[in-house]
């Protein structure tokens, strides 16, 4: 089937899964397969969700879109843009084929995250094919829903290890009336201070790298103009491209074969004493580090600062790439995995060894 046609292949995916359950065949789930570099190496038969695509419903004034998991992110963003709206968490596109399902299953968010919220924050409901072969619906298409456990958001970021996302409902928001990006020259320590002392300004992104601090202001023309007056700095041309490159790791910083680490930290954490090149995003809360330092040293430093570290790209992807869990948390994860995927055939080992 051509993967450019809207189609509901939920039943076919269910049949394939039921067969895999019967045969105990591990599956490697993919949408656009643009994030195959992410997570641990997983063995399994390739199961493509890309054919399950199309927007199921979109009501701009309800601020809700529901689409099938294989729908390309670019299609969704273009549709939203026609109505002056956007996905507020700015999901990264690690390839032209990046899909909605992949964005939610990975739970990754772009530069706007600290100010707008994360991928999981905007999930309102999902239809999921669990490892038991059942198609289940959780959450819904309304903003507020506290009936039952929040399984929709549990699935966000679970890397397909608990179920195959079929349909996803997201809250969307209006695009800001205007945006302006300012640049300042300063040190990393000064940048971290600015990120945090300027938190009441209408920020929508804050980045530091190579001696430069970049702030994106968003909001009404009057508010952005006023903030610009207060903050000073120079404006940059083609800011849209700049932030898209940061978001999608096409920025020159990421053009390297050295292992890339992602440190998630309390935003005001002072510069950390680890060797390598840094790019500070999310107002200091997400820090990219290119380094050959040992995993142990990086994790210890991140944990001591109150955060955690992920081997995001490159390096040894057969060992653990995500921050090790405490024994009690790891045991709970295994029990949860078993309750969703008793045969352990969905992306086995993609997140952690053993589940």
């Amino acid at each position: 089937m051509a993967a450019t046609m809207d189609a509901d292949i939920g039943a076919a995916l269910q049949n394939t899964l039921l067969e895999a359950i019967a045969q105990r065949t591990p599956l490697r789930i993919a949408g656009g397969d643009s994030k195959s570099f992410y997570g641990r190496v997983t063995q399994g038969e390739h199961l493509s969700v890309a054919g399950h695509r199309g927007v199921v419903s979109y009501e701009p004034t309800e601020l809700v879109i529901t689409a099938r998991a294989g729908t390309p992110l670019a299609d969704i963003e273009a549709l939203l843009a026609e109505h002056g709206q956007a996905l507020p968490f700015e999901p990264p596109h690690f390839g032209a084929g990046s899909t909605l399902g992949g964005a939610i299953a990975s739970g990754l968010s772009g530069p706007r995250r600290p100010y707008a919220g994360s991928a999981r924050d905007f999930v309102l409901g999902v239809t999921v094919l669990t490892g038991k072969g059942e198609i289940l619906r959780f959450g819904g298409q309304v903003m507020k829903n506290v009936a039952g456990f929040d399984i929709s958001r549990l699935l966000a970021g679970s890397l397909g290890t608990l179920g195959i996302l079929l349909d996803i409902s997201l809250k969307v928001l209006p695009r800001p009336e205007t945006e302006k990006t300012l640049v300042f020259e300063c040190s990393d320590a000064e940048a971290i201070q600015c990120f945090n002392t300027w938190s009441s300004q209408p920020l929508s992104a804050a980045l530091f790298g190579n001696g430069r601090l970049y702030l994106r202001l968003s909001g009404s023309v009057a508010a952005v103009h006023a903030a610009r007056g207060r903050l000073g700095g120079e404006t940059i041309a083609d800011a849209t491209t700049f932030w898209a490159e940061v978001r999608d790791h096409r920025h020159s910083f990421f053009d390297d074969d050295v292992p890339l680490w992602r440190l998630s930290l309390p935003p005001a954490t002072p510069p950390l004493d680890l060797p390598g090149a840094w790019l500070l995003d999310w107002g200091g809360a997400q820090r990219w580090l290119k380094t050959s330092a040992s995993a142990e040293a990086i994790r210890e430093t991140a944990a001591k600062a109150g955060g955690h570290a992920t081997l995001f790209r490159g390096g040894d992807r057969h060992s653990e790439v995500f921050h090790p869990l405490s024994p009690s948390a790891a045991a709970l994860h295994k029990r949860l995995k078993a309750e969703f995927d008793p045969q352990a055939i969905l992306n086995p080992g993609r997140m952690y060894r053993g589940f």
């Binding site: 507020k144 929040d150 309390p266």
Partner: protein, 495 residues
């Protein structure tokens, strides 16, 4: 009504359990005499009452752990409780269980103004967090109406909302970290001051889990800078449908108000009689639209919203002239529940959510049902996020009226599900809506909820019988009545 878990505790030696609890806790931290247990027999849903076997009031995390371990070992159910302001019977005790009060965990452990987080114990009141953060120009956004009394631990357990959810989110969007004890007494540390945590999103799973998965012993919340300015516009309409359309126009124009509330005529009149907020009592509906943010932005949006409201056919549009008038406009809305309580001996508050565009048909169907059941309804609506609070007016002293009210309420929730909404937007399922869960979810989905519960609490000891019905219960539901009740804490503001 008699509520007990399905656990066979017939062999339970109560005196032995009490003396074991006494070995773990100081004398004044274990209550077991009937008169001492009475204050704990219900939460905010006072129609459901049950005296627990014992009440524990630990003061340290270690004590909570020891109590849980003991109950785990002896197979005794445990119900956790914060301030007991919940509206769905989530903290209703079990006659054969221990009620675990977290009321003594009242310390704000840390306000970190630079990272903009607060680390607090679960018994800290919601409003106390914002008060402690105020000197730094920060606040905690979710503001359930009971915020002067309700605790953050209870807010997390219920995923509480408030009037600012559309813009600032629910509790789940504003909590960064939790420390949780499992029934086996294991401490789980989930998240912290960073924006995310490794592994599955247990933070989302715990939030709104109604005390079924673990006992929350510490919470790290996100603090936001206080908006530079907030201003409210009041618009009157001669038709609720027009008011509903106005909401769509505002959001369609790309404006996300800090608060967007609707009241119908009965709610307007009740509130005006009580508070004298200056509401137009002839209006079929009013909208309150609060705009907040940078000064310049608010000025622009006020003009735009006034224009949109007029285009939508508002008969009157007023902008609060000053902070006093703004407070007065809100006071009427915030007092809507007690105001309705003044015009009726009893009222029953529903909490359904609907896609906003279905509002006209839902309201007209509620009006039809109101005539059918011969019970008046006042509608108060978080219009921005589709969370409807119909208040059914009844008199519990009239024979059969409570039963009629309960049946009517159940039909409203079924209606919400039928139009694509949910049976509860912010009050939780608890004991109250346990049967409606059978309408909201199919058996395999309910079974998956039980599977999740099983991963945390295989013996089913934490708050058993609440939030998620057994499949057996759903099968029997056809013959059962939905039980409702009236609010206690009548003086608290309710949204």
């Amino acid at each position: 009504m008699q509520i007990s878990s399905t656990h066979d505790t017939s062999s339970l030696d109560k005196p032995a359990l009490i003396s074991a609890l006494h070995r773990l806790l100081p004398g004044d931290s274990v209550l077991f005499e009937r008169e001492d247990l009475r204050p704990y027999e219900c939460d905010g849903l006072s129609a459901y009452r049950e005296v627990p076997l014992a009440v524990c009031l630990p003061q340290t995390v270690e004590q909570v752990r020891e109590v849980l371990r003991l109950c785990h070992e002896r197979n005794v159910p445990v119900v956790a409780r914060g301030a007991g302001t919940g509206l769905s019977g989530g903290a209703l005790p079990l006659s054969n269980g221990v009620l675990l009060s977290l009321a003594r965990f009242m310390s704000i452990l840390e306000i970190d103004p630079v990272n903009r987080v607060a680390r607090v114990q679960p018994g800290v009141r919601n409003l106390a967090i914002s008060q402690a953060a105020a000197p730094y120009g920060l606040y905690y956004a979710p503001d359930p109406s009971s915020q002067i009394a309700c605790t953050i631990g209870g807010n997390v357990a219920e995923n509480s909302g408030g009037v600012h959810c559309l813009k600032y989110g629910l509790t789940v969007h504003n909590v960064l970290g939790l420390k949780v004890l499992t029934i086996a007494g294991e401490l789980l540390e989930i998240g912290g001051a960073a924006l995310d945590a490794p592994g599955y999103d247990l933070l989302a799973l715990m939030t709104g889990s109604e005390g079924l998965l673990g006992v929350i012993v510490e919470v790290t919340v996100k603090l936001l800078p206080k908006p530079e300015r907030a201003q409210v516009v009041l618009a009157a309409f001669d038709d609720v449908v027009k008011a509903g359309e106005a909401v769509g126009r505002i959001i369609g124009a790309g404006i996300i108000p800090g608060g967007l509330e609707m009241m119908d005529n009965l709610a307007i009149r009740a509130a005006e009689d009580f508070i004298h907020a200056g509401y137009p009592v002839d209006a079929a509906a009013i909208l309150l639209c609060e705009l907040d943010g940078a000064n310049e932005e608010v000025s622009e949006q006020i003009l735009r919203v006034r224009q949109l409201l007029q285009e939508a056919g508002a008969t009157e549009v007023r902008t609060a002239r000053d902070e006093q008038e703004r407070a007065r406009f809100w006071a009427g809305r915030k007092a809507a529940f007690p105001a309705v309580g003044r015009i009726s001996p009893d009222y029953y508050c529903m909490d359904g959510t609907i896609p906003r565009k279905r509002l006209p048909e839902v309201l007209s169907r509620i009006a039809e049902l109101s005539r059918e059941y011969d019970l008046p309804v006042a509608n108060v609506f978080h219009a921005g996020d589709g969370n409807l609070h119909p208040l059914i007016l009844y008199d519990a002293n009239k024979p059969g009226e409570l039963e009629r009210t309960e049946e009517f309420g159940g039909k409203i929730l079924d209606l919400c599900v039928a139009v694509g909404g949910a049976i509860t937007g912010e009050h939780g399922v608890g004991m109250e809506k346990i049967n409606q869960m059978c309408h909201q979810f199919a058996p395999p989905e309910l079974a998956q909820f039980h599977s999740v519960k099983h991963a945390f609490d295989p013996q089913g000891l934490l708050n058993p019988g609440k939030a998620v019905p057994t499949l057996h219960r759903c099968a029997e539901f056809g013959a059962m009545h939905v039980h409702g009740g009236k609010l206690s804490h009548p003086g608290l503001e309710r949204f």
